[in-house]
Symmetry: C2
Subunit: 198 residues, 2 copies
């Protein structure tokens, strides 16, 4: 498990890549707690402090992973949104993509959305906004004004986040049929988003 395989590691930029690769591997297999600077270093064949030559802090390393996660999530949602078909159906497809991402790439989802702010320096707001293009796409849907669109898009995303977060934390009643719950929640959130203003 603590795979101390020592592939002739590179140096300089190569080492940086190796560190990032190892961090990604560990995140995917062991989640956030597996991201220890010392463990990453020993697996990659360098010392813990060498990581600081390429990342200002552990958080900076994690930010790089978060960025990767946003890239994946965004592309999946954009693909759904840019499809053809009725607006509501595309919205739902994007929502399904979001939920699927959260449940399949749980470790990524956690570092992207579930780290408490004091626990980690917040992902830079600027990157976050850029990373959130899909929200803008959401916002452009079925909205009278841009402001109303932003609001509605945000509401959908918060609803989806709550669903995913509680599912991940296993804080949803086990009696419920998972798939049915998800589909119903998506339906509720998306139809509300395209409903006439109240």
């Amino acid at each position: 498990m603590t795979d101390t395989h020592q592939p002739p590691r590179g140096t300089g930029a190569e080492l940086k890549r190796a560190i990032l690769d190892e961090a990604r591997r560990r995140l995917e297999s062991g989640g956030y707690p597996a991201l220890s600077t010392r463990k990453i270093a020993s697996a990659v064949g360098c010392t813990a402090t060498s990581i600081y030559l390429y990342f200002n802090s552990k958080d900076a390393l994690i930010h790089a992973l978060i960025e990767e996660g946003f890239e994946d999530l965004n592309s999946k949602m954009m693909a759904a949104i840019e499809g053809d078909g009725p607006v509501l159906e595309r919205l739902k497809d994007a929502a399904r993509a979001y939920v699927r991402f959260g449940l399949e790439r749980t470790a990524y989802y956690e570092i992207m959305f579930m780290l408490r702010p004091e626990q980690m320096e917040r992902f830079p707001a600027e990157s976050y906004r850029r990373a959130r293009r899909s929200l803008d796409a959401f916002a452009s849907f079925a909205s009278v004004s841009p402001a109303e669109g932003l609001k509605r898009g945000t509401i959908v995303l918060t609803a989806l986040h709550g669903l995913v977060a509680l599912l991940i934390a296993q804080r949803v009643d086990a009696q419920l049929d998972r798939e049915e719950l998800i589909e119903s929640a998506i339906h509720a959130a998306c139809t509300a988003a395209v409903a006439p203003p109240f």
Copy 2:
């Protein structure tokens, strides 16, 4: 700040109380990170290991705080639910109570709902269910069957959780009017909950 006031601390059950009190104080003033066994101990005038005489682990201590949080949250929501007035309005009032709790007692909310499962042994499921009486009340609303009610109640709670969690993490666009967003999200979630099945 690291108030090493040493009030003639008690012993036995009194010490346990003192520990819990200090933990609560620290949680409220400094959030989750302020909950260090050593800091609590030194503030209360005993050693860190003494805490383990009364709590099996740090998590057990936190569980006690979580229980307090649920008690507060539950009573507030139940008060709203058991009021008089139309169902939808009572539902919204309960939702408002939930959101207000999350935004006012943030530190409590975080340990109750936002700790990642690996980070802390999950709050015992049995306690959690008991702590969640308000969900059952939700479920009893506007539902054809109990199963449908549970599902709808869960969907509302997930939506509210997502809203609160992202607000706390400051991951909601700052341009949005906070109060308006909250009110709209509550409206969307609650009206969907009492809508006819789709």
